[in-house]
Symmetry: C2
Subunit: 418 residues, 2 copies
Amino acid sequence: MPRLVMKFGGTSVANVERIKNVAQHVKREVEAGYDVAVVVSAMSGKTNELVAWCKEAALAVSGDPVYDQAEYDTVVASGEQVTSGLLALLLNKMGIPARSWQGWQIPLYGDDAHGSARITGIDGAGILKGFAERKEVAVVAGFQGVHKETGRIVTLGRGGSDTSAVAIAAGLKADRCDIYTDVDGVYTTDPRIVAKAQRLDRVSFEEMLELASAGAKVLQVRSVEVAMVHNVRTFVRSSFDDPNNPKPGTLICGEEEIVESQVVTGIAYSKDEAQITLRNVPDKPGVAAAVFAPLADANVVVDMIVQNVSPDGKTTDITFTVPSADYARAMAVLAKEKETIGYPSIEGAQDVAKISAIGVGMRSHAGVAAKAFKALADRGINIRAITTSEIKFSVLIDQAYTELAVRTLHSLYGLDAA
Amino acid sequence: MPRLVMKFGGTSVANVERIKNVAQHVKREVEAGYDVAVVVSAMSGKTNELVAWCKEAALAVSGDPVYDQAEYDTVVASGEQVTSGLLALLLNKMGIPARSWQGWQIPLYGDDAHGSARITGIDGAGILKGFAERKEVAVVAGFQGVHKETGRIVTLGRGGSDTSAVAIAAGLKADRCDIYTDVDGVYTTDPRIVAKAQRLDRVSFEEMLELASAGAKVLQVRSVEVAMVHNVRTFVRSSFDDPNNPKPGTLICGEEEIVESQVVTGIAYSKDEAQITLRNVPDKPGVAAAVFAPLADANVVVDMIVQNVSPDGKTTDITFTVPSADYARAMAVLAKEKETIGYPSIEGAQDVAKISAIGVGMRSHAGVAAKAFKALADRGINIRAITTSEIKFSVLIDQAYTELAVRTLHSLYGLDAA
């Protein structure tokens, strides 16, 4: 029997009526002959309610909202437990044999980084036995696992259910993993900004990884990483389609399955970054470490980093971006390290945006980025910083120009629909 | 170190503020030197919400609200998971080492009667290790366990958390089990009916068992059974007491701990029963089985049964009571069996009440019940049926006389406070 993993997020299981709709999607695939494992998130809003209780409990003791992450995991994992039970109950009632599986029942093992655990292993034997002996649908509570030694519940952090789904698809050697979302696939850019954005039929793992990192919110970065490493063919499709006549969505797959690569596949943007520039930093060995080590210690994730060759060999400017949410913390850390780093002045900007163009075709085409710089300049858009990778380039600009820049690049690389 | 099990029900953990109050009770006992396991129910209202979703899911498929009990267990057990995590989080935050334990983590094993499983075993090793190595409070999710072979979550049914607590006290060989409720102990009768009702300092297991069976709602029958079999000294006390200065409550213990037994310890009543009388049933072997076997098959629990010696040796009347909720079902079952049983007429009454007097002293005192029959007759209360056991007698009367009868017997046996 071919095997299929399906995944439904919080809005797809928001209430019993929506869960019934999910059951119809599962029924279709069972009737098509698949052995199905379906991964579900908590009903939308439930996780927030549970997190709020944890914060309230911590604040009831002291003014500091920090709490025991292992107990947090115990509390929030209950959300997925409820959804998995309800969907299995519904499927059984519809005459489709089904059984719910919590992370500890599978078991899906995670490390002890409670709140954002990494998956360390999956034992698919129980689920496969259900497939073989009873043609039983496995309804898996996403987002959660268990620590092998302590026996405690761990959760996988933001986007954890996507990661659960792809990892289970890898563990079960599934033929396919379908991620159902509230959009019907991956687009060349955000359709709310560019009306002529097009749904992509296929996109490579590498491109999807860069798109997700660059701000496209359709899939979490971690799940794409797992899909890439284990070569899991993953579809992004809509849970709002008619269950009896759904659209195929976008296939995320290896490059070998994509016949003709585009130079640029998509344009992504992120407004969630802030820029920090240190002026006239002494240009000597170890200065970069002096800047970025204390930020890493404070758990600030630095994204773009630009350091030019020093004109006089004595001092240089260092520019980098951090998540907006960490901006104040980063500035405080750097203020404390002013003497050690030895910078005379610091500048910050929060009204910035990062625009990225992604495409595996960039590898074999020269001048892809240069075209963009010219087009942006022609529209009076000032570029603050530039970074490039093998299949992506990103520019940091004033946030007010975000939409104009996205539309400009989308047209420039021929992505507009006819 | 002495060991203590504490149990808090739904109203005691209704919100974060109440859970903090529970943490204060736990803190007091930890500081008094106890190793503590605390068993918690779901926040009040949560279980009902979860049960309602299960019903809604079943009804979304067909008009019949029957559902898969194993999935029901998975859904409803999440309620206790949340409370256990929140209480452990709060205790840790207060500087008291604590860890939550779900049924499967302990493990507390149950049989496969999903929805009303019986406890088949408890392995206390993990909890005891936490006591010994880290002086760690064990916060146990009540009401739930795991099936040893299937690895599935089971729940223990109504009053399951009381039963969890007493069973864990037995498993850990605890010195004591404190059941915190919204009343401050066991009373000689319902104080809402008799203002002069008195809180009992001590009551024997056997008496408590009969009181609970006879309608006193302070503890579930199953938990008293477990306490009696394993000789767990159990206190019923109030969670609304000042955590720093609580009252002792009522001790439920073996008879050997009660120096002087009362003839009658308490008066209980139940309005949740209905009476059924079959007239002129043929008085021949097998007729009782013909009546009660079909009722048992339909899961109707029969309580009082009265069958008099036949006056003519040919026919007799059989009277019995069933839970009010099952009355219509019982009547339907009996209508179907009319030919087989061979009764010419049937009578039913729903406006009845059962009044019971309980006391271990009855064993050694004659005429205890006879006194009651006279006192009730003196007040014009007609007795429909009577049953007696070693330490209890019950009378079935018109429901309108409930309060009068309870007050009459409470005075009669010298239970009124001075």
